[in-house]
């Protein structure tokens, strides 16, 4: 922005609003983190105080590590999230490419059908899904979760990606065809790199609900070996007594991997490599 258009009042106001929003958004995370390092009594007496010499305690983290297979849960969550994202992006991008690139009968209808899933929550079909998983013997496997999350994420992925794929230059794809590239090479080598920002958007949109989901892990894979982190943390929440130290510690640690994944994807959002390819 040049100097003439810079107005200190506007800048201050804009930053004020952004800072306020950041504080509001981060406040719950902050409260979780500070309280996870406090004794139980301190959590209830002064929930907003920072841990000091008296109230500091790592008892929550000790409980989490001693009780249950925390790293196992963690690993399950990671596998399910990463695998689901991989399949959502792969199949979503492929379907989007076909819809945007090829003229065939029923193209529009197919696009609408695939987008319909955005409007229908997948949880409505929980009973049917459970029956299906029981019949196919997939209950209590991570595959059950991966398949369900892939199905849940695909509609939005196809919808967003096909819009972006339409913007990829036709000339570029045709140049590839004239140079003898196969349709798969054109898709993977020419088109996918150009829609990377859109892929990152789709990944971020899908990642957080999958990571945080409690519903499907509870129903489809509640066994000890396949518990996800969110489900695993529930052992500390009882009907009568809740081990708040442990719950807060588990939640605090659950935030980290999502943050790492988010940083990876959000870098892609910013980077554009299309410049220079086509005018």
């Amino acid at each position: 922005m040049n100097k003439a258009r810079r107005n200190p009042v506007n800048i201050a106001a804009a930053h004020g609003i952004l800072i306020l929003y950041t504080v509001i958004a981060l406040f719950p995370v902050f409260v979780i983190l500070i309280n996870s390092f406090k004794t139980r009594r301190a959590i209830f007496r002064e929930p907003l105080a920072l841990p000091d010499a008296d109230s500091f305690s790592t008892v929550g983290y000790e409980t989490v590590f001693n009780q249950g297979d925390f790293f196992g849960y963690f690993q399950n969550s990671m596998i399910v999230t990463v695998a689901s994202l991989f399949f959502i992006l792969l199949f979503g991008a492929m379907a989007a490419f076909a819809l945007s690139e090829y003229r065939f009968k029923g193209n529009t209808l197919m696009g609408l059908y695939l987008a319909l899933g955005i409007m229908i929550p997948i949880r409505i079909g929980t009973v049917a899904i459970l029956e299906l998983m029981v019949d196919t013997g997939l209950v209590n496997t991570l595959w059950a979760l991966i398949l369900v999350y892939t199905a849940q994420g695909l509609p939005l992925a196809v919808f967003i990606l096909s819009e972006f794929m339409r913007q990829v230059s036709d000339d570029l794809k045709n140049a590839g065809r004239i140079d003898g590239l196969s349709e798969y090479t054109i898709f993977f080598r020419l088109v996918l790199p150009l829609v990377r920002p859109a892929m990152a958007t789709v990944a971020v949109f899908n990642m957080i609900p999958i990571w945080n989901d409690l519903w499907f892990p509870l129903i489809l894979a509640p066994a000890e070996a396949t518990k996800t982190l969110t489900l695993g943390s529930q052992v500390f929440i009882g009907q009568f007594v809740t081990d708040w130290n442990a719950v807060l510690s588990a939640l605090g640690m659950a935030i980290l991997p999502v943050m790492v994944l988010y940083v990876i994807f959000s870098r892609q959002l910013i980077r554009g490599i299309t410049s220079g390819a086509v005018k």
Partner: protein, 334 residues
């Protein structure tokens, strides 16, 4: 030998009939330009020749072989696109080499051909850069180089100069003409710019609404347009059209006079009021309106100072004028 022959080619998108019964022959080593207004089907025709679109009916033959069912890469063609369409993730060298690699050429052949093309297009120092680090003109040269290395039987250019600025356009135009001379290759060039068409072509194909209006050498089209459309499209400024009856002709017919063949005299068949004067240094374009409200353009050589609103008399030689019937077809005066 014929480099390309189209027989009865038709193309429809759904119910829209884009190309209608196109018949065309391109001789070996010929430079053919497709020209026409936007949406006349010239790019579609090029894409049908390239194999990027299938013809709805008719046959496409390249170098004597029918290629209707041959994929683009195996047709022995190379194409240069308006938007350059370079691969963003590859260097200039990689861009030029990719097609050859796909054909399974040896490393040595690829290296030699890329070096040769780079020399021809003076791209030597840019071989290791990526497209994003090149200027528009350099990118278009890379795109041309990518076509040259394949040594195709037929070059296809799809409005290759439209994205370049005026000075660069002229340079690249000269470069393409030079390339055509050195390679002696058959080339098809699509443009809507009639100056490109006139300066580059051995043969111009004028298209309108998916039909071939006229085929001929640039001077043939200029001197002998078959109909009013071609007459108006070729030549700049465009030909003047006036109802023939105001100069004593038949009602309904139109008379066409090129701006350069109108002259100012006191005793002219036409009277007109000057509305605007464009001084170009070498030429002067005078825009005027005749008594009964028809706009005419005159092109005078050299510099003239003519004031707007001046009333001038205009005349022309009958031998340098054209007569068009009500249907737009040329009426040849015996």
């Amino acid at each position: 030998m014929t480099a390309l022959s189209l027989k009865n080619v038709n193309k429809s998108f759904g119910s829209v009939h884009v190309l209608k019964d196109i018949d065309l022959e391109v001789e070996d080593g010929e430079f053919v330009v497709f020209v026409g207004p936007s949406g006349c089907g010239k790019s579609t025709l090029l894409r049908v020749i390239a194999g990027l679109e299938d013809a709805t009916s008719g046959t496409v033959e390249i170098a004597g072989e029918e290629v209707n069912t041959v994929p683009p890469a195996k047709r022995g063609i190379a194409m240069v696109f308006q938007s350059y369409a370079l691969y963003p993730h590859l260097t200039v060298r990689g861009n030029m080499a990719l097609g050859l690699k796909q054909e399974g050429r040896t490393k040595q052949v690829i290296e030699d051909r890329v070096a040769e093309a780079a020399r021809m297009l003076s791209l030597g120092e840019y071989l290791d850069r990526r497209p994003s680090e090149l200027s528009g003109g350099q990118r278009q040269r890379v795109a041309i180089g990518r076509a040259v290395v394949r040594q195709p039987k037929l070059f296809l250019f799809d409005e290759p100069l439209s994205n370049l600025d005026a000075a660069l356009r002229m340079n690249t135009r000269v470069e393409i003409a030079r390339l055509h001379r050195t390679l002696a290759a058959s080339m098809i060039y699509v443009t809507h710019d009639q100056i490109e068409a006139m300066t580059l072509a051995d043969k111009i194909v004028v298209l309108r609404d998916g039909r071939v209006e006229q085929v001929g050498s640039p001077m043939e089209l200029y001197n002998n347009p078959a109909n009013r459309f071609v007459a108006g499209f070729i030549g700049s400024p465009a030909m003047n059209f006036l109802p023939a009856e105001i100069v004593g002709g038949k009602k309904g017919q139109m008379i066409g006079i090129r701006p350069e063949y109108l002259r100012i005299t006191d005793q002219g068949r036409l009277q007109a009021t000057v509305t605007h004067v464009e001084n170009l240094g070498g030429d002067t374009n005078v825009l005027a309106t005749t008594e009964d409200g028809h706009p005419v353009t005159l092109r005078l050589f050299g510099q003239h100072s003519i004031q707007p609103d001046k009333i001038i008399g205009l005349d022309y030689d009958d031998a340098k004028s054209y007569l068009f019937g009500e249907d737009g077809e040329r009426v040849v005066v015996a």
